[in-house]
């Protein structure tokens, strides 16, 4: 049994290649991944035809080389890492379902879950002395007599430690530490395993940097080009994110900002450092300086006995300072999470556990629906909030938005950007261009 040629998580390719060609292959891979949202079937049909043609394996080798260089680049850039993991995960999912034989699927299972964590159904029965297990017999009967069964589906056993989601949701039959189910039901866990392994490989790739000057230069050059690449930047950048009028959408605020925002809305007071933190954030999500001046003037309880003109002269100076219009005229950025942890306000660090639970349970605003995290979810987050606040924040994200955040949230604008995307408040620039172009072409 061997892995399919398209599978990128194989042993590293021979890196003794022409650098110019390698760069080309990396860009080719980027283009391929960028085409996925527009039509997965076209990408699979054009680039991964279903034939046994020998020459194709050379193409696949080139794809893997390109993918490998991107992995090295992702090791130096967190926002690229997030984009790459999600895109490669999607491509893996498509190719796995459309271009993989049963033997290859079994190889992928063993590769991603570990050889010792996967067993064929028949091997499980004999090795675990389960030949007389009636439940197992019933499972076998149900599987083979099922009307909608796909010919390429099969029964397989995976150790429970590799598929916690299936254990939590009681998918499959759990017996002696093994989940027994049909291959199709493992697909979600398989994609997750692929993405986790891919992320580990990206982390390991860091070790290769600094060994070879030419490779380092190439990585740096492509990284800089990719950082400017519109599509990737607009999808996944954090520090370059600048929203438009998102201040009226608190549903995209990270927990630290929503807490300060709610606190200020209800009390009209914030200490200086917290005002700065919220002010920087409101600026970056698109609030104009005039809007911020009015906002602080109207909401702050300290301004009740002064006129707007007086406010402009006093507190207004600080607000204009945020925008680089006073003093050193520097356009300040929102502080990153590590700075917030020590000098500003992080809800996971600075709130008492009881207040944090209350806040995370009830105070979150979202447009989608009323989100009420379960006690278990909250306990898990609380247990790591003080020792690892960024992880707690990262794990809180999917509870609110139902989408996993790959990598760690290390900057408040990372949260805001991804949340805005999910809530449909920002549109990908290229997609927007394509959409308007299509409208023109179709005469709309």
């Amino acid at each position: 049994m061997s892995l399919p040629d398209w599978f990128i998580l194989q042993s590293p390719p021979d890196l003794d290649i022409d650098i110019a060609k390698w760069k080309q292959l990396a860009w080719k891979r980027v283009e391929l991944l960028e085409q996925l949202p527009q039509g997965r079937s076209r990408v699979v049909r054009d680039h991964f035809p279903p034939t046994e043609d020998e020459s194709l394996s050379h193409n696949y080798y080139d794809y893997r080389l390109g993918a490998y260089l991107l992995r090295l680049i992702a090791a130096t850039n967190r926002r690229l890492e997030a984009w790459l993991i999600e895109s490669e995960g999607d491509l893996f999912e498509y190719l796995y379902s459309d271009r993989t034989t049963i033997d290859q699927k079994k190889s992928i299972f063993r590769h991603l879950f570990g050889n010792n964590n996967v067993m064929d159904y028949e091997d499980f029965k004999s090795e675990m002395d389960e030949n007389n297990n009636e439940n197992l017999a019933e499972l076998y009967h149900q599987f083979h007599s099922g009307r909608g069964r796909i010919a390429s589906d099969f029964l397989i056993c995976v150790h429970f430690s590799q598929v916690p989601w299936m254990v939590s949701n009681r998918r499959g039959y759990l017996r002696k530490g093994w989940i027994i189910s049909n291959e199709n039901s493992f697909r979600g866990s398989l994609k997750k395993a692929f993405e986790e392994k891919f992320q580990n490989d990206i982390e390991k790739a860091q070790d290769l940097l600094g060994m070879n000057e030419i490779i380092d230069q190439t990585v740096q050059e492509i990284e800089q080009n990719l950082a400017k690449h519109t599509k990737i930047r607009s999808q996944f950048s954090s520090d370059e994110f600048e929203g438009k009028d998102l201040q009226s959408h608190p549903e995209i605020f990270p927990p630290c900002m929503i807490f300060l925002f709610s606190e200020f809305e209800s009390t009209g007071r914030l200490i200086h450092a917290h005002r700065l933190q919220l002010g920087f954030f409101l600026k970056k999500i698109g609030m104009s300086v005039d809007d911020q001046l009015h906002y602080w003037f109207e909401k702050s309880v300290d301004n009740r006995n002064i006129t707007y003109a007086e406010f402009q002269r006093t507190s207004g100076y600080q607000i204009r300072h945020l925008y680089g219009l006073e003093g050193g005229k520097k356009d300040y950025d929102v502080p990153k999470c590590s700075t917030i942890a020590t000098s500003y306000f992080c809800s996971f660090i600075h709130l008492d556990p009881a207040i944090l639970i209350e806040f995370l349970s009830n105070n979150y605003l979202t447009n989608k629906k009323s989100i009420v995290p379960s006690k278990k979810q909250l306990e898990r987050i609380i247990s790591q909030s003080s020792s690892n606040p960024t992880l707690a924040c990262t794990e809180y994200f999917p509870i609110i938005y139902g989408r996993t955040f790959y990598g760690k949230i290390v900057h408040p604008l990372q949260w805001a950007r991804f949340a805005s995307k999910i809530e449909g408040l920002i549109v990908d620039e290229k997609e927007s261009d394509t959409a308007s172009k299509n409208k023109v072409e179709t005469g709309q």
Partner: protein, 325 residues
């Protein structure tokens, strides 16, 4: 007993009766020097980030300092100390632990016994703990394939299940959480908690839960419980007579008969809600948590947190446990 006498009793226990070999059957000793310990003093001060070179150093500490409570935590890449606290270290492993405490059952204990308040415990409500041990132990062995499971009296109102398999030691938080999810039959722990759709409980586990809960329910049921559930007084009297007649050895016919009557009044879920295991999730999923050191003394009760041998685990009565105070 005053504080001086309590300290003397603790010193006497740790110097003469505390047997480190018994601890080895519960705890993984392979990386003893990088294991975290924590202690609470008689005056209520709490210390953690403490480690010991070897087991003898731990014993010397217990004898010398006579802590009121002794706790054990996870293993790290280096020895935890005040200068290198655990949040600066890399987590290496922790036994998989389940905490069954009657605190978790406070909302349903009123249906089982007459105990009131957090400090009370009786042999009737202890049946809730027995049932949880029964189901969790069997599920861990048969469904999860775990073998080295020991149940340890917490010293007060519950037990801790310690799984010392190599696999359990290395499980991450997500994997531990999945086991808790699998074992949880009720959504939430409050009075209004709802039982999961039983059809979603798979195969052996569903049978195990239903059969075991019903067995414990009938062993401990009182006439007034049946009436409270909605059975008529004649029907309740008849069931009680049948149960008394069989002296606790219920045959399948009797079970089926009673089952039908309970099914008629549609109170099956209510019985499950009162009896199913309630695990303190935090203890299982928190990888850095400190837990009472097996064979140490519970400072409030003076009772030993000893291993309950499988042979008499279900006849254990916490009220009969001797106190060193």
């Amino acid at each position: 007993m005053n504080r001086v006498q309590q300290r003397t009793a603790l010193r006497d226990y740790y110097s003469t009766r505390f047997n480190i070999d018994e601890l080895k059957s519960v705890i993984n000793f392979s990386k003893f020097s990088t294991r975290e310990f924590g202690f609470a003093t008689l005056g209520g001060k709490f210390f953690r980030n403490i480690s010991f070179e070897n087991p003898q150093a731990l014993i010397d500490f217990l004898v010398d300092r006579t802590p009121f409570h002794a706790y054990i935590g996870a293993v790290y890449n280096e020895s935890p100390t005040r200068e290198t606290p655990i949040h600066t270290l890399e987590w290496f492993g922790h036994e998989l632990v389940f905490d069954i405490d009657l605190n978790e059952y406070d909302v349903v204990r009123q249906f089982i016994c007459e105990c009131q308040g957090a400090d009370q415990v009786c042999i009737r409500c202890w049946q809730l703990v027995n049932l949880a041990v029964d189901i969790i132990d069997e599920t861990l062995r048969l469904d999860f394939g775990m073998k080295e499971i020991k149940w340890v009296f917490s010293g007060r109102r519950g037990v801790h299940g310690w799984v010392n398999d190599n696999l359990g030691f290395l499980l991450n938080q997500e994997q531990r959480m999945s086991i808790i999810d699998y074992l949880s039959v009720i959504h939430g722990e409050a009075e209004t908690a709802r039982i999961q759709d039983r059809e979603k409980l798979k195969y052996d586990f569903r049978n195990r839960i239903e059969h075991t809960v019903f067995k414990y329910f009938l062993k401990n049921v009182r006439r007034k419980d049946l009436i409270n559930l909605g059975l008529g007084s004649t029907s309740a009297t008849n069931i009680m007579k049948q149960l008394e007649h069989q002296e606790g050895n219920m045959d399948d016919n009797l079970l089926r008969n009673i089952n039908l009557r309970i099914a008629k009044i549609n109170k099956y879920d209510e019985i499950l809600r009162r009896w199913v295991p309630r695990i303190d999730h935090k203890v299982t999923i928190d990888l850095r948590r400190l837990l009472r050191l097996p064979y140490s003394i519970h400072g409030k009760t003076g009772k030993v947190a000893r291993i309950l041998p499988p042979s008499d685990i279900f006849s254990f009565n916490p009220d009969e446990e001797p106190s060193i105070f």
